[in-house]
C-alpha cells in the first residue's frame, strides 16, 4: 500500500490540529463536560474531521457512520473529546499502516520511492507485521 506525498502533507497538518484540539477540548471538558460547544468551535472541529475523513478509508474510520458533528444537536465538550481522541488514534493507525522500514530508518511508503522519514509505527499492522 502506498500513499501520495500530498496525503502525507495533509496527515501532518490534520494530526497536529486534532492533537491540539484534544488538549484544548480536554481541558475545557474537565470543567464543563456537559456544556454545548459554540458554533465557531464546531465548525473548526468539523473542518479538521473532514480532512481526516479524506485520509481514512473504511478500514481506518474510527466510528461507523460518523462524518461530522451536527451544529443543531448541541454536542457537549465530553462528546467531542471522545470523538477527537478516536480520530487521533485512527490517524496513528493509518500512519503506522503506511510506514516502511528502510535500513535502520522508518519512512513513508510514498509512490515513486520519494524518501520522507517518519516515526516508527506504534500499532500492529495486520498483513504487514505478521508476515
Amino acid at each position: 500500500m502506498t500513499v501520495e506525498s500530498k496525503q502525507v502533507d495533509m496527515f501532518e497538518k490534520t494530526d497536529a490540529q486534532l492533537t491540539a484540539l484534544v488538549t484544548e477540548i480536554g481541558s475545557l471538558s474537565k470543567s464543563k463536560p456537559d456544556n454545548p460547544l459554540n458554533k465557531f468551535k464546531i465548525r473548526f472541529i468539523n473542518q479538521a474531521l473532514a480532512q481526516a475523513n479524506t485520509l481514512l478509508d473504511d478500514q481506518h474510520r474510527p466510528i461507523d457512520g460518523f462524518e461530522q458533528f451536527t451544529e443543531e444537536l448541541l454536542p457537549s465538550y465530553s462528546d467531542v473529546l471522545i470523538v477527537l481522541t478516536q480520530y487521533v488514534s485512527a490517524l496513528e493507525g493509518w500512519r503506522s499502516a503506511n510506514a516502511i522500514k528502510v535500513g535502520y530508518n522508518w519512512q513513508w511508503n510514498i509512490k515513486g520511492n520519494r524518501a520522507r522519514s517518519t516515526e516508527p509505527p506504534t500499532r500492529f499492522r495486520r498483513g504487514i507485521d505478521d508476515e
Binding site: 464543563k32 456544556n35 454545548p36 459554540n38 458554533k39 443543531e72 444537536l73 448541541l74
Partner: protein
Amino acid sequence: MAIIRPRLTDYYDIGVTQEEVDFAIPFLDEDIPLYVDPFLLWKSPSMQDNALHTVMLASFNQLGRRWQSGARDQANQILVSLSECEEVGLGHAKNKKGKRIGAETANEVLSLFSTIPEIRIGGLHHIEELNLLTDQIGRDRISDLACNLLKSFLIDYTIDQANMFAIPREEVSLLGVFDLRTQDLASERVSLPTNPETHAPILLVPKRWLRFVPWINRDEFFSGAHIESEDQSLDLARGTVGTLSYNRNNYGMIRAYVAAKERSQTDCRNDPLFTPIPVLSAKRKLAAIRKLPTGNDNNADKAYEDLVAPLMASMLYPQLDFAKTQSRTDSGALIRDLLFYNGRSTEFLRDIYDTYASRQIVVELKNVKSVEREHINQLNRYLNSEFGRFGIIVTRNPLPRAMFRSTIDLWSGQRRCIIALTDEDLDVMCTVFDSKQRLPLEVILKAYVEFTRSCPA
C-alpha cells in the same frame, strides 16, 4: 382574531421581534404598560429629542401665558383636549379608552401660572413638575400631554416606521394635532396604521422614550427629597390637596429636587418592555424545579408552572417575545400554557412558521412523571389554524416510547409537530443562558431536529 394578545405586527403577519424595532409594538386590545417620560427626551444625546423637549415645554408654557393673558376658556379647552392621547395606546387601560381631565382640573393646572411666581415669570422647566404640584396629574397624564404636544412628530415617525416594516396604513382624520404656528389644535387628514377592528388610528412611540415611572415623580420626592423633621405637616398632607398648597408655597424645594434629578441623569434609562430574569435567578429556579416532586400534591403542579414560566420567557428572549401565560380548561382539567409570538427572528423560527403556520408558539406545562396520550391530545386540540400546528410540552421526563410514537403519528397524519422538553433540556438551556456560547432556543431546535429525524421520510 383568535391569537392571544395580538399586536399590530402579528395581525399583519409581519415577522419582527420587539428587540428589532425602534418603537414599542402596540397591542390591539390593550395598552402598553409604559409611559412617555419627557425627561428621557431632555437627557437624550440626540439633538432631535432635545429639540422636541424644548418645543413641548415652550408650547405648554405658551398655554400658561395664554391663560395669564385672559384667554382662560380657550387655554382650558386646549389643555383638556391635550390630556388624553388614545392613539399611542400607553398606560393601563384594558380597552384602550382613556378619559380626559375635567375643566376644573385644567383650571387648577393653569392657575399654577398665576399662583407660583417662578412659574409665572419663567414657566415650567420640566412638564413633570405638574406631578408634584397638582393632584390629578399623574404619570399617565404627563405621558399623554407629551404625546399630544409632539403628535405632529409622532405622525411622521409612525409613517416612517410603517413604511420600513410594511405596516399597512389608511387615510384617517386625526383630531387634536397641536399646531406650533397657531399654538392651537387642528385636525389633519393623514395616512396611518389603524386598529384593524376599530379602525382607530395608531401612533407608534420610540422605545427610548418609555419608562414605567417618570424620572421626576411624586413618590420619590416625598420619600427622599423633603426634610421630614422640618415640617411634620407635610406627611399629613401627602396625596391630598394639602400637598399641593405646600409645594406651591415651597417651590424652591421642587426646583432643588429637579436640579438633583438633572444631575443624576446618567442613571435615567428607558425601561424595556420585557426584563428577563438574571442568570443567578434562572439557576435557582432550575434547582427548585429539579427538587419539585411530580404530580399535584401540595400544589406542586402550580409551583412547577410558576417556576417554568419566567424561566422560559427569559431564556427565549429576545428571539421569542413572551405573549402571555394562559389558563384554560380542557375536559375538566386545568391547563397552563405559555404563549410566545413567533417573530421569525431565526432560521428555525422561520422554518416552523413556513411549515406549520406557527404564528404563536404554544408551550404546555406538565408536571407529571410520564406524559400520557390525553396530555398530547389536549395540546393537539389547541393547535388550530390561528396558532399554527407547532407545540411544545415541557415536562419532567422524556416521552415514553408509545407517546413519542403518537407524536410521530400526529406528524404523519396531520403534519402537526409536538415536541417535548424535559428537565435535562431546561438544564442545558440554563447552561447556555449562563455561558452565552449558544442560544437557549437552540435546545428547542435540537429537540425539533431529533423529532424530524424520527419522522418517516
